[in-house]
């Protein structure tokens, strides 16, 4: 064949791209982490060291666990191009359901927990069905859900607080990992677990890097790679050391950490994750690529319901009562966490890790400002401004990049 295409060599491999250019391209990721560290440092200083005290740190983790867990599901929903406003109400409703089952009907905690999780998934499925298959905007469907489940929670509890929960159930939130090694002043199992986690992370990162290099992909400049991993290792070790000085790793933290790793993997590395991003990025293109867009959108809601239920259980177990007001306003923190973490309201963009960092930024601010005795009025204003600022920086960056 005599095709005489002008021979255009592809641009030379960009091996020599400067570290600066790399930093610029990944500013968002590093920026998020740096903001969290800066905010923590700020409050650490302002509270005279109270923030990072083992007891407070443990509280911080416990207080934010349900927000983080819901943010994992919310991120997928937002990436897929929807929103779920009902999570706070679902959270409260599931807590109420758990209380009624365990306290009033004396159902064993295990089947009761399973029933609650299944109910959460079912709620998600119901809402997802309207959104995905009937194309009713998720904002409307879940706004309805917000009202419905807030009402149902009141109804099940008959307006009363119900508690206390069985001791086994409470362990979900108030329990700590048992110290098999019986450390004296430190919780040795927790320390060990932290060390293992840090080592595992470094191992997987190294393997990933080696694989990438083998396929001739461009990799992060070495100083960045080393630097980033050192920071992470330091953070993990610091966290576990501090926690070990109190009672060790709370059960919730373990649950949360496992979920974060799983969802991060799901979003970044699996075909399902890819398809969710494609769905949110360009639904029509996704459908024409053979992706079952309706089913996928539906599943993100089922998943969200399930996680909201789990969060509801954790919250109820932590308070040791189910109150009609439980879960009030959670959806706002959860959604804010996702957007602070870099998710785009129009779908297709966002990272699980970002949402987690976003949730902790909110959490540290809540905690720090409370310690400082800043009134709830100012707290709300400041949180609102931080959300706006984070998104503004994002949008401004994007605009300049175009």
């Amino acid at each position: 064949m005599s095709t005489q295409v002008a021979d255009v060599a592809p641009k030379p491999e960009s091996a020599g791209r400067s570290a600066l250019a790399f930093l610029k391209a990944h500013l968002r990721e590093y920026g998020m982490l740096l903001s969290l560290v800066a905010i923590m440092a700020f409050f650490q200083y302002m509270t005279g060291g109270t923030l990072m005290q083992p007891l407070n740190l443990t509280n911080l983790v416990l207080q934010n666990s349900y927000i983080v867990i819901m943010a994992l599901g919310m991120l997928l929903v937002i990436v897929a191009g929807s929103i779920d406003l009902s999570v706070g109400s679902v959270c409260g409703f599931i807590g109420a359901l758990a209380a009624v089952l365990m306290v009033e009907h004396n159902v064993h905690w295990l089947p009761a927990t399973l029933i609650c999780l299944a109910t959460g998934a079912l709620i998600g499925a119901a809402q997802g069905w309207f959104v995905a298959y009937w194309r009713i905007p998720s904002f409307i469907v879940t706004l309805a859900g917000l009202l419905v489940f807030k009402g149902l929670a009141l109804m099940v509890l008959a307006g009363q607080s119900v508690g206390p929960f069985p001791a086994e159930f409470q362990l979900l939130s108030t329990g700590f990992l048992p110290d098999l090694l019986h450390g004296e002043s430190y919780h040795l199992t927790s320390l060990l677990l932290g060390a293992i986690a840090a080592a595992a992370m470094v191992f997987f990162k190294l393997r990933e890097r080696a694989q990438a290099a083998r396929h001739g992909m461009e990799v992060e400049p070495l100083p960045f790679f080393v630097g980033k991993n050192l920071v992470f290792v330091a953070l993990i070790l610091l966290l576990t050391t501090l926690l070990s000085a109190y009672k060790g790793i709370p059960n919730v933290l373990l649950v949360m950490a496992v979920l974060i790793v799983c969802y991060d993997f799901l979003a970044l590395r699996t075909t399902v994750g890819r398809r969710i991003y494609a769905l949110g990025g360009n639904e029509k293109a996704a459908r024409l690529s053979g992706i079952k867009t309706e089913r996928l959108a539906f599943l993100t809601f089922v998943n969200m319901g399930l996680l909201a239920a789990l969060a509801g259980l954790i919250f109820a177990a932590r308070l040791n009562t189910a109150t009609p007001k439980a879960g009030l306003g959670f959806e706002l923190d959860v959604i804010a966490a996702c957007f602070i973490g870099g998710a785009s309201a129009s779908g297709g963009v966002g990272k699980v890790f970002g949402a987690v960092v976003g949730a902790f930024i909110m959490g540290v601010m809540n905690n720090g400002m409370s310690i400082l005795g800043i009134g709830i009025d100012y707290q709300q204003v400041i949180k609102g401004l931080v959300l706006l600022a984070a998104v503004f920086v994002d949008v401004a960056n994007r605009k300049r990049a175009l």
């Binding site: 994750g273 991003y277 360009n282 459908r287 992706i291």
Partner: protein
């Protein structure tokens, strides 16, 4: 006959877009009180010219001079040209469906006192205007309740409400039936008698022949000819020759087609419109494509070609789809995109930004999207394998980019098109349906796309190419089907196909109905 002064003079109009020159030194002169037809192929520059005239592209974004009513004009926007009485009616009607006729006619121009709309005045005035265009509907009727033909007339009434001097109609009869078209053309003649000039853009040459006083032919962004029809009628043949008469230099790669057995076949394929399910958008189409063959589907916009392709590809368009799809003589189930892809059918959309690409994602992720299975193990994507596949296509298709992790949104049109091609080649298709594969890309990139098509055909795939650009169909295809209003109305072999022949088939089919 007196010689009316020239109402509009456009001289030396040149308009360039990044990478493409859409208009080159175009001249257009419209006399007062005439109907001036502007004809040309899709992409000849008609719409761009009208956008320059109406101020959509403001003064300064083009070169050349516009004189209207004897004075040089520099329009900053549509409002400026409208104030002088230049009103454009676009192909896609700009009416708000859930507002009434009266509200639409005075939209943005409401008769009001102190900010309060005077509904009574609007109603009375609308009734007068409707009477002028021959509509008896009540001014409070919702636009939604009118047919397309009547909506078109409402648009004209709206133009009349603005003291129109020059009315520009872009393909006004494209979606009208014959009765409505006739009514519209009669109305234009009547307006002419009242001294209103009109620029009519149309593909339907029989209509042009009927009403036009002057015809300007555009081709490839230049004025080819201005024909005066007042003395003696100009035959459609002359118009057609002027529209398409362009040399076919080495714009296409040489091919040595080795055509094998029939691979892909459609039998009695019929598709109904998704919203108006009584309307047949594709009517009993029969198509065959052989191994190594490039088959073209010619036709005007709205002929039903994209609808045909998308309905075959996983029933992605339309309702009540009937007929058979056969591969190698065996009927196959293409009821979902997934199944169609599994059978080796790929569809490269005409709208790559809207339906083809994830603009925020990188090249690698776009390439793998339709065949994630090939780069994953038990649901986990192997980014190394994905990179290798994408990088392979980068080299094979000569995608110009930093690397395959560059965002697709940052690439040029031609390179984006290659990414879409790569994405579908990665699904290993036997049948590749390309819908307007060179739309919006520059000449050099076009040649590369053509070369890739030739190469794919030489590899034994069968290619169905939908295009509105006749030269590229003639340059690339072994066989061409002509589609008009949902039907295949003609079929030409490589040897017998000509632009005149295709155009005539389309025009004749239109006249017959």
């Amino acid at each position: 006959m007196e010689s009316p002064a020239s109402l509009l003079e456009m001289r030396g109009i040149t308009k360039a877009f990044p990478g493409v020159v859409a208009l080159k030194d175009v001249n257009l002169s419209v006399r007062a009180g005439e109907i001036h037809a502007v004809v040309g192929e899709n992409g000849a520059g008609k719409s761009t010219l009208m956008k320059v005239l109406s101020g959509v592209y403001p003064h300064g974004t083009y070169e050349g001079e516009i004189r209207f009513g004897g004075e040089p004009r520099q329009f900053r926007g549509i409002r400026a040209s409208e104030d002088l009485g230049i009103i454009i009616i676009h192909q896609e009607l700009a009416l708000v469906p859930l507002l009434s006729i009266a509200e639409n006619i005075f939209l943005g121009n409401e008769p009001a006192r102190g900010g309060v709309v005077d509904r009574h005045a609007a109603y009375v005035r609308t009734r007068e205007l409707l009477a002028k265009v021959g509509l008896k509907e009540s001014p409070s009727t919702l636009i939604d309740d009118l047919g397309v033909g009547k909506q078109q007339l409402v648009e004209i009434a709206k133009a009349l409400s603005k003291e129109v001097k020059l009315l520009i109609l872009d393909e006004p009869t494209a979606s009208l039936n014959e009765t409505d078209s006739d009514a519209l053309l009669d109305l234009l003649l009547e307006l002419k008698a009242q001294g209103i000039s009109c620029i009519l853009i149309s593909h339907k040459l029989n209509e042009v022949e009927r009403v036009a006083d002057t015809i300007t032919v555009l081709r490839d962004g230049s004025t080819v000819q201005t024909l005066d029809c007042r003395g003696q009628p100009v035959s459609q043949d002359v118009i057609i020759r002027n529209m398409v008469g362009r040399e076919m230099a080495d714009r296409y790669p040489k091919r040595d087609p080795r055509i094998g057995e029939v691979v892909f076949e459609l039998r009695d394929w019929t598709v109904h419109h998704p919203l108006h399910s009584e309307r047949e958008s594709v009517k009993r189409v029969n198509l065959q494509a052989r191994r190594g063959e490039i088959v073209g589907i010619a036709g005007l916009m709205g002929a039903g070609r994209t609808e045909l392709a998308m309905s075959v590809f996983g029933k992605s368009w339309g309702r009540r789809i009937s007929g058979q799809v056969l591969l190698h003589g065996q009927e196959v189930d293409v009821s979902t995109v997934e199944k169609a892809v599994r059978h080796g059918i790929a569809y490269v959309t005409e709208d790559r930004k809207g339906y083809g690409l994830l603009l925020d994602d990188d090249i690698a992720r776009n390439v793998s999207l339709a065949n994630l299975r090939a780069v994953s193990t038990r649901g986990v994507v192997d980014e190394g394998r994905e990179f290798a596949a994408a990088d392979g296509f980068r080299k094979q298709l000569r995608i110009r980019c930093k690397d395959v992790f560059q965002r697709v949104g940052q690439l040029s049109g031609g390179n984006q098109q290659k990414v879409v091609l790569g994405k579908w080649l990665f699904t290993q298709p036997q049948v590749l349906i390309l819908d307007e594969p060179t739309r919006g890309i520059d000449v050099g990139a076009k040649f590369e796309i053509y070369s890739l098509m030739a190469q794919m055909a030489a590899e034994g795939r069968c290619i169905v190419m939908i295009s509105s650009e006749m030269p590229e169909l003639l340059g690339m295809c072994d066989r061409i089907y002509v589609m008009n209003e949902g039907r295949f109305v003609a079929e030409f072999g490589r040897m017998e196909a000509s632009q005149e022949g295709i155009m005539r088939a389309i025009v004749n089919a239109g006249t017959l109905q």
